[in-house]
Symmetry: C2
Subunit: 210 residues, 2 copies
């Protein structure tokens, strides 16, 4: 309502997004990994369960206290790789291309969960090693949407949107995949290469467009 | 002329850029450093001159065989930092934000050469150390243009253009600064964060727009 009055006083029409059901949140996903309960036990010991370090914006999702060491095929290492919980039915590591180049692995761009014919790697935890045969990807940039958000923006699951990011290193990211589910809250996930390319800060203006 | 005939046969108008005086080259600048002759001597020994490893696209510019170790304020290190020649009148290091975060330095976005009040660092070479008081920056994304290119695109030095990059991670980079000089060849320089955000490959379609 305050916003409505301010725009009225300025003699300007209310921006279209002022009527959006939810505010737009844009978060940078640093490299991380999703694990099965079996992988967690192999790496951290029998019966081990992930512990919550920080709750994430999507309901029930968390960054775990547990981290791993990733060993690449050229004996290069990424330390302190964060695990996200809860456990899933497959093991998947999401890296930025800068990480993959540092590691010496050529990784494909994939929708999360679609890991057929992707490279694997070796994981090292305090209890032991775990060999991932596949699962190292760069995740497709995407936006989580509640059906109300999808209706407001006029899109459906699988559609692509654009994210216009302002500031001194302004960028527009195309091919932002819409993922719609009643359990989702409106949130864009980009990786560290994308976040650093545009120097995304908490106050950087962002606009989601069809 | 071949292009002209192909488009004619297809019954399509020739794209506007087909009439451009020069092809558009987009290159990723990995982190690198520019040094004064004094810094080169301090690091590599009295009388040492940079040697050519690879000529770059801009006339007279080269990647030197010589590399350095950069030591950041938190004892973190970047090895094999490439020196670009020839020597300049000031010392400057250009990093991507991902590099700066790894190093633990907060670096500003600057036009090359504008290094007042920027952070410094310690450089280590085979002969000795060299302390840079200032000069560590992220370089503003920019396009080198010959006056003919500027005339074709209808811009002048200091103007900002946009670079539309296609492919599976398509991105449009705004605020691409025009630098116009009769010695320049048409070439866009982006950094590794920008190049990895859009996965720039030799065959990725790129278009420069006002």
């Amino acid at each position: 309502m305050v916003r409505q009055v301010v725009y009225q006083r300025l003699g300007k029409p209310l921006p279209r997004t002022a009527g959006a059901p939810n505010p737009l949140i844009v978060n940078v996903s640093a490299r991380h990994c999703h694990l099965t309960p079996e992988a967690v036990e192999a790496l951290f010991g029998p019966g081990h369960k992930l512990t919550v370090f920080k709750w994430l914006y999507q309901e029930g999702q968390f960054a775990a206290k547990e981290t791993l060491t990733l060993v690449g095929p050229r004996s290069r290492v990424i330390s302190n790789l964060r695990i996200l919980g809860p456990c899933r039915s497959l093991n998947q590591i999401e890296l930025a291309y800068t990480d993959a180049i540092a590691l010496g692995v050529d990784i494909p761009l994939r929708l999360s969960g679609n890991i057929a014919d992707t490279p694997g790697c070796m994981l090292m935890g305090p209890h032991g090693f775990f060999a991932m045969k596949t699962g190292v990807i760069r995740a497709l940039r995407h936006v989580h949407m509640h059906p109300d958000d999808a209706a407001f923006y006029g899109v459906k699951g699988g559609d692509e949107m654009r994210l216009k990011i302002g500031g001194p290193c302004a960028v527009t990211l195309d091919k932002m995949l819409c993922r719609v589910d009643p359990s989702f809250k409106l949130e864009v996930h980009i990786d560290t290469d994308e976040g650093n390319a545009c120097d995304l800060q908490p106050d950087t203006p962002c606009e989601l467009m069809r």
